[in-house]
């Protein structure tokens, strides 16, 4: 599969070459903050290098990226010490706009940065601002459309594009000014595995063909690690380490499954691509056999009944005639490409969709007819933006509100939150929490009403590995201990492998695969988790599965 198409040590950049970006003793602190974001960072990035920035959420990865073209501190405020040069220009002396011909930057939500209506106009926007002559613009727009395979979309309205297409347009509009440096903030966090693969392989080609210097911040290391030449790890409180992926990942608490696997097997070497790891583990695969663990639902009580469900928006079918049952204490993952109908299905289960036909029965009630208390007791829903649920001025107020809503003892929700995510201060404003903490807060508010069903829409966007581990633990406990159901829509195959007992795969509003997670994930190469790619043909999905196999043999 594409995962190991490019990942090879021989291709990797080996230092030397012209310096493109230079950080000299750079420190950054924001006003009204007591901790430095970056302290005394010295770093040289050469032309044609691909550098990955990693670190926990809220540690300052975005700040580091935005320092490169001066958006920090020109745009955000903050005190900067030290010097940053890009292609010999000091960023302190010029506005970010004056570096537009040199640096292309793509933000976390590319759609928020779109200025025009159609793909072609969006591409032209930056060049118009730079006052390039019309014939140059026409030529470059064509080139860039071809480079990113966007030509068929040239006249489409940006709002109608899928997540992966929007990401490609954002990259194209950054590249159209022929920059020497491309900076991307979590380019694959909102994308399904296939779209992510497309975007990353384009970046890889740009680095190799055009000697573009690329700096990426990303949480989902399993997707990008094989492309990285070097890693900058930010540990919070200003502490940074720079090194090759092997050096950094050997001891880092932030590690993709592939590295966790090497650690679990006690290898003295780690591999960053599936191909390398397969080479390192070939003997292991032959000497260990998998014990097939039955993953049938332990309960046969139907909890959700979906019958002949059809939903369409403005003539476009989102869900077409879906029939399925979900049982008690199942954790069901709904997967599929961007726009396949995952969110529509979740909304239908929650009873907030406009169904054309069919019905969803949750715990004996028509989900459309659940209100107030009855709704809270049956369905807990965590939306894609957890902050949509939150409106109080402090964590404590938010928890108190949930207590009064659910008529439970004051302080119950706060206690729950502290169990789920230890170390959250009750006086903090919800906006100042990290992504993981905010999800934890929304989850506690939802769980405080003790719902029988928990629905989560894309919960791992922007979460680091530690926050994901906590989420996994909470959800498994919720389903197993309390005998409840969880339905989760996600692009994160590693999460699904760790968590879900059953996976439903949808495409174009239809269920195309439905079964135990292990069967569904192993049958689709694009959606297979890293461990299973390394261990194929052995049917192991996670590091824990492999460890169990080792223990089983002893």
């Amino acid at each position: 599969m594409g995962g190991n198409r490019f990942g090879s040590c021989a291709l990797r950049y080996r230092g030397g070459g012209r310096v493109m970006i230079k950080f000299a003793n750079v420190s950054l602190i924001y006003p009204n903050s007591t901790t430095t974001v970056i302290e005394d960072l010295t770093l040289e990035i050469a032309e044609g290098e691909l550098v990955l920035v990693i670190g926990p959420t809220g540690s300052g990865k975005s700040s580091l990226l935005r320092l490169i073209n001066g958006l920090v501190p020109h745009h955000t405020g903050g005190i900067l010490a030290g010097d940053i040069w890009v292609n010999g220009i000091s960023t302190a002396t010029v506005k970010p706009g004056a570096l537009a011909h040199l640096i292309g930057i793509v933000g976390q939500n590319p759609a928020n940065g779109f200025v025009a209506d159609t793909v072609e106009e969006e591409l032209a926007f930056g060049m118009e601002a730079l006052n390039l002559p019309n014939d140059v613009m026409r030529k470059r727009v064509e080139e860039t459309l071809d480079l990113l395979s966007l030509a068929p979309l040239r006249n489409r309205a940006l709002a109608t594009l899928s997540g992966g297409e929007q990401q490609r347009v954002a990259i194209a509009s950054a590249l159209v000014a022929h920059p020497k440096v491309l900076v991307l903030d979590e380019p694959t966090s909102a994308l399904d595995p296939i779209a992510a693969e497309e975007v990353l392989s384009i970046l890889h080609r740009l680095v190799h063909d055009l000697s573009l210097t690329v700096i990426i911040a990303e949480h989902k290391l399993e997707r990008v690690i094989q492309f990285a030449d070097r890693i900058v790890q930010i540990n919070g409180a200003g502490n940074t380490i720079v090194g090759t992926p092997e050096q950094i990942l050997m001891n880092s608490p932030i590690a993709p499954p592939i590295v966790e696997l090497a650690r679990a097997l006690g290898l003295n070497q780690i591999g960053t691509s599936v191909r390398e790891m397969r080479r390192l583990t070939s003997q292991f695969r032959e000497t260990h056999a998998a014990e097939i663990v039955e993953t049938k639902p332990t309960s046969h009580n139907t909890f959700i009944e979906i019958k002949n469900l059809t939903i369409s928006y403005g003539g476009k079918t989102a869900i077409s005639n879906v029939n399925t049952d979900i049982y008690e204490n199942e954790i069901v993952a709904i997967m599929g490409r961007n726009g396949a109908g995952k969110s529509s299905l979740l909304k239908a289960i929650a009873g907030i969709s406009h169904n054309d036909s069919g019905s969803v029965i949750v715990n004996g009630h028509d989900s459309q007819k659940l209100f107030n208390k009855l709704r809270r007791q049956n369905i807990g829903f965590v939306p894609q933006e957890p902050s949509d649920l939150l409106y109080a001025q402090s964590v404590n107020d938010e928890c108190k509100q949930a207590d009064t809503d659910n008529e439970i003892a004051l302080g119950t929700t706060l206690k729950l939150l502290q169990q789920l995510v230890p170390g959250v201060s009750a006086t903090t404003h919800p906006r100042d929490l990290s992504e993981g903490q905010r999800l934890g807060l929304a989850l506690s508010v939802v769980l405080s009403s003790n719902p029988s069903l928990l629905i989560l829409d894309e919960p791992t966007r922007g979460l680091d590995y530690q926050a994901k581990r906590i989420l996994t633990r909470i959800l498994i406990e919720f389903a197993r201990t309390y005998n409840k159901s969880v339905v989760i829509a996600t692009h994160d195959v590693e999460l699904v492998a760790e968590l879900a007992t059953r996976t439903i795969f949808i495409a174009d509003g239809d269920i195309v695969a439905d079964g135990p997670t292990i069967d569904v994930l192993l049958s689709s190469p694009a959606f297979a988790p890293q461990v299973s790619k390394v261990m194929s043909p052995q049917p192991w999905l996670t590091v824990a599965d492999v460890v169990r196999a080792i223990e089983g043999q002893q």
Binding site: L71, G107, F125, M127, D405
Partner: protein, 248 residues
Amino acid sequence: MKKLTFHPLTWWIFSLATAFSVARVNSPTFAIAMVGVLSVIVFLQRESAPWGRSFNWSLKIALWILVVRALIGVLIGVPIPGTVLFRTPILPLPHWMPGIRIGGDVTRERLVSSLSEGVIICAIIVILSAAASLTSPHRLLRVLPVYLYEFGVSVVIATSVLPQIVSAVSRIRTAQQLRGQKTRGLKSFKRIAIPLLEESLARSLDLAASMDARGYGISKKRSRYRPIKWAGIDSVVALCAIAVVVAS
């Protein structure tokens, strides 16, 4: 029906002229007629983009303003003599506020005058928002001269972020509904307003940062990719609009 493609400024000229003539003529009948005309145009011509949908909201807001304004106009102010419709209790005011009263007799003349003033104010709001929903803010930005940089940025942020907020409202309202909260009424306002305010601020900052990073406003001159041309039809519409202003 085929959509007309005007120069982005044409709708604005047309709307401004209509709004101006509504204010000049000062007749509620004329104002309502103009709102009707503009509404028909908007419903036929608007695109299914966020700004296109913002027109419905401006209609709702205008209705609110009309009701509130009529109530205040009837209850507070200088009494107008005439046919008494009904009486409300009068609030005694100190002697140094002569000529003003709160409550008291509500006459037909008074009701008519405050309603017609309200109608004209609301008509102007609706007519201007019709232009906003008929023109893509992005196309508008492309025809603005570059020396209006700061102004251009604020126009793009205001006109493109605000309508997107309309869709954010329904998303947040759904989420709150799922939390089992009431989503109507004054109490729910805060619950929706706060996440909304945070999101729109974040969006605005993202957009401004993106424009800045792409060199907007750096060059004194600005080239045009497939320039938007001022066509004959635009002149015709603009001339008609000016004729309306002169005639009113």
